[in-house]
């Protein structure tokens, strides 16, 4: 099997070499490597180019999980297992919201800006807080020694403030676990505290719901600035997500062997979500998705078309996006 974007594979291999013990690196399944490579490629495409810093952040999320597992394997296996189960739904939601961003018409400005704010609200309220849960448990096991009960809410999430407190308490560089998190920006989308000024600009603010006094802003951002701020939190989430992936690669076999994990029968994904998620890997491997249906016998029927694209060997220059001048 050949992939379209070998750089993602190379980054994944470098990441494994940097962070995993050699004995574990040999056990990486191709599917796990592909998932990591795909996430890294998405990071690059979204504008995060500093992989040295990202590796540092990944080290900060992964190593405490691993250390906590050494100390108290069963609670760590349970929280990671439960988080993976929650992530199945959350990653579908993430894909769906990202798909909304990419499929929106340039003429539909409400969707153009609104879809970014919707994604941000999801990242801030659901994804970041869920992904950080095993880390907060690991911190309690390895640093504070405090009780684990009460650290998570009933949806398996931690509070955004908890994440910030632990970041400081562990002496991590500011933003390692929290970069991009911004409750005011979340409020803008949730309470429609924004005004679209034109094709490229949006005014955002936050206010106290009782007094209506401003608590943040107003700020005037270009669409690119809004995109960049959303992506910052997305990168932070990716650091947590890949930390969990490395934990699974390192300890998954032991957890399975000892029966410490959380067993869940996977549920069939919704047809439209499956189609959206299959598109990227199909494209990487030389195919286009023609259809995804659920047959009467409940089988998933996937129609692929060979893209058939060829190019003459050449060097291509990639021009990345940047800030748009204000009007």
């Amino acid at each position: 099997m050949l992939g379209k974007f070998p750089l993602g594979d190379r980054w994944a291999a470098e990441l494994f070499a940097e962070l995993l013990p050699p004995s574990r690196a040999e056990n990486v399944h191709p599917q796990q490597a592909a998932a990591v490579a795909s996430r890294l490629a998405r990071l690059w495409q979204s504008g995060a180019k500093d992989f040295g810093t990202f590796t540092d952040r990944l080290r900060a999320t992964f190593l405490p999980l691993d250390a906590a597992f050494e100390q108290s394997p069963e609670p760590m296996a349970r929280i990671v297992g439960e988080t993976f189960i929650r992530l199945r739904t959350l990653q579908q939601r993430e894909s769906s919201l990202e798909s909304d961003i990419h499929s929106g018409s340039a003429d539909d400005l409400a969707t153009k800006f609104g879809s970014q704010l919707k994604l941000f609200g999801f990242l801030q309220e659901e994804f970041h807080r869920t992904l950080a849960a095993p880390f907060i448990i690991a911190d309690a096991i390895t640093r504070t020694g405090g009780p684990l009960s009460g650290l998570l809410d009933r949806n398996g999430r931690v509070g955004s403030k908890q994440i910030a407190i632990v970041e400081t308490a562990r002496g991590l560089r500011a933003g390692m676990l929290t970069d991009g998190a911004n409750r005011h920006l979340r409020n803008c989308g949730a309470h429609h505290l924004y005004e679209i000024l034109d094709d490229e600009r949006i005014k955002l603010w936050d206010e106290d719901p009782r007094t209506k006094h401003l608590t943040w802003g107003p700020v005037e951002w270009t669409h690119w600035e809004l995109h960049t701020n959303v992506r910052r939190l997305s990168v932070t989430c990716s650091a947590f997500l890949l930390g969990l992936a490395l934990f699974d690669i390192t300890n998954g076999r032991t957890i399975l062997g000892r029966g410490w994990g959380v067993v869940e029968t996977p549920q069939p994904r919704r047809r439209d979500i499956a189609r959206s998620q299959l598109r990227g890997p199909a494209d990487d491997l030389g195919f286009a998705i023609e259809r995804v249906d659920v047959a009467p016998d409940r089988a998933l029927a996937i129609g692929l078309r060979v893209k058939g694209d060829t190019v003459i060997e050449q060097t291509k220059r990639i021009i990345t996006g940047g800030a748009t001048p204000r009007a």
Partner: protein
């Protein structure tokens, strides 16, 4: 950028392997492949869950994986793939 050619079967199995987490809730997956004109059929596979799970480690040869499938009529041909990279940052 360059074009390489890879066996269709390798690519389809690789697709199922790479996307296992997306279809592991389905007992059966049918994949039908058409040529780039969208109409010429290039065959199909029917892959039960156990056969797809066996693809995950990536250590068995393709023929061994094929033996687990009740249906595999994929054409013995190669398909083109445009490879990008390595990316060299500008100074």
């Amino acid at each position: 950028m360059r074009t390489v050619w890879s066996p269709l079967r390798d690519q389809v199995y690789g697709f199922l392997q790479r996307t296992f987490d997306i279809h592991d809730g389905y007992e059966l997956v049918r994949v039908t492949v058409a040529a780039s004109d969208g109409t010429t059929p290039l065959g199909q596979i029917v892959a039960p869950l156990d056969a797809r799970r066996a693809m995950l480690p990536g250590k068995e040869p393709v023929e061994q994986l094929r033996a687990r499938l009740p249906v595999d009529t994929l054409a013995e041909e190669k398909i083109p793939l445009v490879l990008e990279g390595p990316i060299i940052p500008t100074a």
